[in-house]
Every structure is written in C-alpha cells, then in structure tokens.
Amino acid sequence: MGPSSRYAALRLAALTKTFGRKMVVDHIDLEVPRGSFFGLVGPNGAGKTTSLSMAVGLLRPDGGRAEIFGLDAWADPARAKKLIGVLPDGLSMPERLTGRELLRFTGLLRGMELKEVERRAGELLEVLELDEAERTLVMEYSTGMRKKIGLATALLHAPRLLVLDEPLEAVDPVSAASIKVILQRFVGSGGSVVFSSHVMALVEQLCDHVAVIASGRVVASGTLEAVRAGRSLEERFVSLVGGQVPEVGELAWLSS
C-alpha cells in the first residue's frame, strides 16, 4: 500500500479553527510536494502549531480538509497515520519510561516485531546521543533531550512524511547537526519533511519550500527562491509580516 505518487505529501484545503471568538486558523491552503523539505515560518501565535495539529489528526478542525498522500486525515485516519511521524510542541510523552522503554513500547504498540524495534531503538538512541541516559526517565530529561526522544519516536516506524513542530528548539549544536543530517538523508531517500521554526537561517539552509503564516493565513508560499524573491528570508519575512523595530526612545527607562 505504497503512497500513490499522484498526491502531494500533505495538502491542507481551507483548514479552519476558531477558539472562542478568535479565528486562529483562517482557511489555510497549503501543499507540501512529495520529497520536499518544507519550512513553515510565522510570528508567535500565527497558528503554526494549531495548523499542524489539525493536519495530523490531533485537533479537530472546524472546517476544511487535511490530506496525507491523498488520504483524508480525518475520514481515513488509520491509513493516513501509518504514513506520518509527528513531533508536536509542548505535549507530554509517556513520562515514566526510560528512553529505550518508550521506543520499545511505542514500537510494540504499532505492531512491530520486538527484535526489529530493539534494533531500531538502539540505533536511534545512539545517533541522537541519548544512549547515556539509559536509566533516566523521560520525566527527568532536559528540554533538548525531550525533543530528541520525540524525534526518535516519530522516526521509529519509518514514516513517509515527518511533521515536526520546532524540532531543533533547545537542541545543542552537535545534536542539531546530526538531526539535520538525518533529516536531509530522509528527504534524499524520498521522504518528505514539514517543520515549523523561528530560525530563518535554518530554514534557508535546509528547506527547498517555504510557507509564511501570519494571523492564521498563508501570506506567501512556494519554493524557497520564489518566496525569498532575491532577498534574505529574514528581510522578506519581516516585510511580509510587517513587524516594526522599536524606535529609539521607547523603553528609555530600561537604560537608566
């Protein structure tokens, strides 16, 4: 049941979410081509986490569709979810397990063979430099270690699409370098990655496609070159989102 090659890895169509009276995600349309490394950027509170949660089946949208390789993530979740690995932001993990136990039980829950799970878990822990924390519960992990073990669970079942919410936040440079290599190899072998980030340099370094989200709407999307339009991504981002640099004189009391 390989993902049919006609479809995009992820397609969001008029996806909408309202919290209270605030339309947090406002009819977002987005297409992540197969085999692309897709960066999602936007100011704080733009709706990145909310959109990605709805795309993978963690938050029920008020309207619109989310398709994963052509499969509706909400109408046909069982088949769609087999194809994705997810790293959400700010959610908890099975906290009272060690990293290895977490990987083992997640693999078994997915119906994988114990031997295979153990083999993959060992490799993942080693590559992500988590094998020294063999006897530490996830609860005691640092923020960066939590991101890494989350990434390991997302990779464990060899998905075709990775949806990562701020995967490199709080990760040290050495681990970040190895994660980048893992992701690039994953894309090189035909996988697709969508990730959100606030680090423009990282997006420019890794991604071939970018979307800029502001106030729940897509304000620009396409290949990196097209979105950048000849400038740096950071300059383009600021001009698109319309932020302003504080004028001299504001917060003057701070420098007293």
Binding site: V86, S92, R135, E140
Partner: protein
C-alpha cells in the same frame, strides 16, 4: 505587602466565580455554614449536665480543627490560590512573603465559615451566664482559635507536602488518611457509647483529653473566666497566641525551603526486562505496570486502598464484630477501582502518542485493563483467602466466589470507561512539582466509581441469592468477564471517536462543551453564579428542553417501576417473604400479581433504555460539536 496579596487573591477569587468553580464554592460555603450552624445550635441547647455543652463543643472544635489540618491532604491542594513560587523572583525575604501570604490566607470562604463555627464559643459563654468579662474572653479566644487553625493548617500541609515527596512519606500519608476515613466510616461502632455519654456525661479522662488539645483551650479560658481563675485564662490565651506564632515561624521556614530547593532528580530507575511484553496489548500493560511502580501518586493511592480496607474491616473488632473481615479483599478491590478511574487524566497530554498509532485505542484500553487486574487481583485474592482462613467463615464461599471475581472484572471495566468518559485534567507529569497534594482528588469521581463498580456485582449477588449454589460463582466469573469486555469495548470505541476532544480537554483543562456559555459571562461585573446542575457534564445542555426533561425524568424515575415495584416484589414472591407495604402488585388479586410485576419491570426498562439512549446520544454529540458551537455569535 499583605494588602497587595489580599487584593490579588480577591481578584483571583472574583475571576473564578464562574461556572463549576463557583457552584463548588457556593456548595462548599453552604455545607460549611450548615455545619457551623449545627455547632451553634449544639452550644445553645439545654443539657442535663452543665459540663456537657463544653465537652460537646470541645469535640466539635477538635473535629473542625482536624478538618483544617488534614483536609488539604485528604482532599488535595489546600488553598493554592496564590502560589509562593509566583513571588520567588521578587525581592521579598521569605519571612515577609510568609507574612503576606498568611494575611491572604485569612481571605476566603473557609476562614469565614470557621469564624461562624467558632463563634459557638461565645454562644456557650452567654448561655452559661458566665458574665460579660468571660464573654469578652470568648470573643478573643474565637479570633485566636481561627488564627491557630488557619496557620496550623498551612504548616501541616506544607510539612506533609515535603514528606510526601518520597515513597515512605507517600505511604505514611496514605496510612494516615486511610485510617481517618475508615475511622469516620466506622463511627457507627461508637454510637452506643455516645448515646450513653449524652445521658450521663463524658468520662472524665475523655473530657480532659478534649480540653488538653489546643482546639479546647478557648473553652478552658471561657470556663476559667466564668469561675474567676484569671491566671488560667491568661495561660490558655497566651498558649493559643504562642502556638499561632510558632506555626507561622515553621511555615515561613518551610516556605523558604520550598522556594529554594528543586525536586530532587530521580535516582536511576531499576529497569526490568519486561520480556513478556511482545504484542501491542502486553506492551501497554507493561508500561502501565511501570507507571504503577514509578508514579508516587499511584503508589500512594494503592497503599491508601490497602490501609483503608484493613482499617475498615478490622475496626469493628473493637466491639467484637468480625463481620467485615472476609470482605477485606473486596473492599480493597473496590477502592483500587475508585482511585484508578482517571488513567487518561493522570497521563495528561501523552494521549497524542496513542492517537498517532492507528488502532491503538483498543490495545491501550485492553492493556490498561490487564495491568489493573495484575495489580489488583493478587492482593485481593490473598486478602480474601487469608481472612476466610483467619475467621473460619468457610460457609461464605459461594458469596465470595461470586462477588470477588465480579468486583474485580467490574473494576477493570468501570475504571477504563470512567477514565475515558469523565477525565479530570491534571498538570502533565513532568510539570508537576513533585508535591502530591497539588492534584486534588475528585471526590465525585471516587464516589461514582465506587457505586458503579459495586453495581456491576449485582448480577452475581442475585445469582447467589436466588439461584442454585453453583450459579453465583459462574455468574461472577462469566458475567464479570462479559462485563469487563463490554465496558472495555465501550471505552475503546469512545476513545477512538473522541480522542481529539479528550486531548484538548486534557491540555486546556476546559471540557469542550463547557466553552460555549463561558464567553457570555462578564468577568468584570460580580454576579451571582447559577448553581450548575452538571447538565453540560452530561452533554444535556445541547438537547431540546423536552428531551432534556425526559432524560432527567426517565433516569430519575425508572428505578421506581424497575426496582421498587418490579424486582423487589418479584423477589418477595419467589422467596415467600411478602410484605405488601407500598408495592402495588402485592395489593392486587393473585392472578394479576405477576403480570403487574412484569409490566412494571418492562416500563422501568423502557424508561431506562430510552433515557440512557437519548442521553448518550447528546453526550456524544456535545463532545463532538462542543467546539464548533463556539463560533456562534
């Protein structure tokens, strides 16, 4: 400083005067006022003995103070409206912070109600006619007692909060609360003694004990003032004041500790091989077993269930009544069920991990059931067998063989279903401060699970009662297994269909269907909260008025035809012990009796199933639609 903190606390209280919180607060205040009124009435009545009102009040004050001291531990949390951590980065000395927080501690419903309750001291002084001076002493003593009560409560809660960070401490706290609860529930044992005391007065050593407790010092002062023994008055009042100061100092010291020490990092855990976990369900069970052994909260609950069962069943031995002993195992199983019905709430937002695995809901529910049985069944069976041998009540075996398996499987079913249907959101495990008291017990949940689990044993009960001797055990095992399977199945289906709503509920602490009316409330303007009937909890807030009324009426009334007019007379006719009372069928001529009973049972069943059906339909709909309805203008 104190004024500022009091203003902050008032602001928080004002903002939380909405919805369920407000309803809880109002209910709590009314219950407290009723109890306080009881104390005042107790103080104002006429007694055959002059010392009786003082002794009774002494007991009343002692219980009231005990409630303050241990209530936060038993019922969770204590007053954490203003958390000291919020101020830890401001440049206050811990002493000043403690002073400010102590001031704020006196703001709230509970201290106010307690002030009313303690004013019984003034009432008893006036009633005894001890004179104006003694009455003034009474007023002063009331204030001092309130101060001691509130500060001592803070101190004890802080001490227990520190102690309960270790396994030993958690076990100790469980032991204490289990002993207290079981003691309260067994207080009927004492009723002959109390009745005698009300006629002839309390035994002298008992009275001495009551006034020796700090809660009785106010009474000592009033009595001494009435008799003109002013040195005693001074000592008693000074004692109260000194105790208050000491509690405050102790609390300030602990506050400093709380603010400057972090939760100790966990020692390396013992990693069990878990080789038996080879498939999805056993993997979940193995993970659950690790939670049972590594989570202090679960450990605490487990020790509590064990201690409660032992205390509750052993206490009646004090009046030579071993009747409960053989049932120790069953009581244990019931309580383990009651305290493990928030499995998803305790795990928190971790739920997403399961949502990303296709088909995980079923494995997860079944695995949790298996783990629950693995944790609960062995101690239950050992306790039951040991107690039967100990008491020699071998004749009870059909009952035990029917009810113990029925309760175990009922527990395995009810806990998972309740965990899915009625989760109580908690802080995510890695964000908890290591203080068990932060997460209070939801007593409605505990009570509900106790009742439902006990109800699942009903078929086994009737089988033993009415059937041949083999029927009970067979019903207990087979019926129980079917019940566990069915309830687990319901839970899994439910989890599968509403996991996103459950996750949102666990993440935000706001249940999806409650978010609709909240926007309409004006937070700036204080307003009287409407008592919340819990319709939104049932999902009935979405149903049209007629259907809502039907569901409520049918579910409330169906028991009358079904049980009272149906099953009860049927049992009477089959067993031959007929007391017509208000049972319609038994007043009719013989040939109409059985048809009437059958019609009644049928009517009851129709009411029950239609009521449940409509109710569950709207429950499912409200879970699904709750968020959508939010966009409404």
């Amino acid at each position: 400083m104190a004024v500022l903190l009091i203003q902050m606390k008032l602001a928080v209280l004002r903002h939380s005067m909405t919805g369920r919180r407000a309803a809880q607060m109002v209910t709590g205040a009314l219950t407290g006022l009723a109890l306080a009124g009881g104390l005042i009435v107790l103080a104002g009545r006429d007694y055959p003995l002059a010392s009786l009102p003082f002794d009774l009040l002494g007991v009343g004050f002692a219980l009231w103070t005990a409630g303050w001291l241990l209530g936060p531990t038993l019922f969770g949390g204590g007053d954490e409206t203003l958390r000291p951590e919020h101020f830890s980065l401001l440049s206050f000395t811990p002493r000043r912070l403690a002073a400010g927080l102590a001031g704020a501690a006196f703001v709230g419903v509970a201290p106010l109600v307690t002030l009313v309750a303690f004013s019984a001291l003034v009432v008893v002084a006036v009633k005894a006619g001890v004179g104006a001076a003694a009455t003034a002493v009474g007023v002063l003593a009331v204030v001092l007692q309130l101060v001691v009560c509130v500060l001592a409560s803070r101190l004890v809660t802080a001490v227990l909060g520190q102690v309960m960070r270790s396994k030993v401490g958690a076990a100790l706290a469980a032991l204490v609360s289990a002993a207290i609860l079981a003691g309260l529930h067994s207080s009927w044992v004492l009723s002959p003694l109390v009745q005698a005391a009300l006629r002839t007065g309390f035994p002298a050593p008992f009275s001495a004990c009551v006034v020796a407790l700090p809660s009785g010092w106010g009474l000592v002062a009033v009595r001494a003032a009435g008799q003109g023994q002013w040195p005693t008055v001074a000592v008693a009042l000074a004692g109260l004041a000194a105790l208050g100061v000491m509690c405050w100092y102790g609390w300030a010291a602990l506050l400093k500790r709380r603010l400057t020490t972090r939760r100790p990092s966990g020692r390396p855990v013992r990693v069990a091989s878990g080789g038996w976990a080879k498939g999805p369900m056993t993997a979940v069970a193995a993970r659950e077993l690790r939670t049972w052994s590594r989570d202090l909260l679960r450990f605490h609950y487990l020790v509590f269930a064990l201690c409660y069962a032992l205390a509750f069943c052993l206490l009646p031995l004090a009046i030579d009544a071993p009747i409960f002993l053989p049932w120790t195992g069953a009581v244990f199983a019931l309580w383990v069920a009651a305290i493990s019905a928030n499995l998803y709430g305790e795990d928190g937002t971790e739920l997403w991990c399961k949502m990303m695995v296709p088909g995980a809901a079923r494995h997860d529910v079944r695995g949790r059931q298996l783990a629950w049985l693995l944790v609960t069944a062995p101690p239950t069976l050992v306790l039951t067998a040991a107690m039967v041998v100990f008491t020699g009540e071998f004749g009870l075996w059909p009952w035990l063989a029917a009810l113990v398996p029925a309760l175990l499987s009922g527990g395995a079913g009810v806990t998972v279903l309740m965990s899915v249907l009625r989760p109580v959101p908690m802080t995510d495990p890695h964000r908890r401060g290591g203080n068990l008291l932060e997460n209070g017990t939801d007593f409605a949940q505990v009570l509900l699970v106790l009742i439902l689990t006990a109800a699942t044993a009903a078929p086994a009960y009737f089988a033993v009662r009415l059937g041949p001797v083999w029927a009970g055990p067979v019903m207990g095992l087979a019926g129980g297994a079917a019940m566990a399977w069915l309830l687990g199945r319901l839970a899994a289906t439910r989890l599968e269909s509403s996991a996103p709503e459950l996750l949102l509920h666990l993440r935000t602490g706001v249940s999806p269907k409650r978010r609709r009316p909240a926007a309409a409330l004006d937070l700036a303007r204080p307003h009287l909260p409407k008592p919340d009937l819990g319709l939104d909890k049932l999902g009935l807030d979405l149903a049209p008025t007629g259907r809502r009324a039907y569901v409520i009426a049918s579910l409330t009334l169906c028991w009358v035809p079904l049980v009272a007019q149906g099953i009860v007379p049927a049992l009477m006719l089959t067993t031959g012990h007929v007391t017509p009372s208000w049972l319609l069928a038994l007043h009719l001529p013989q040939h109409l009796q059985w048809p009437t009973i059958i019609a009644m049972i049928a009517l009851g069943l129709v009411l029950l199933t239609t009521g449940l059906g409509i109710g569950l339909y709207y429950l499912a709909r409200s879970r699904r639609d709750g968020i959508k309805l939010d966009d409404g203008p």
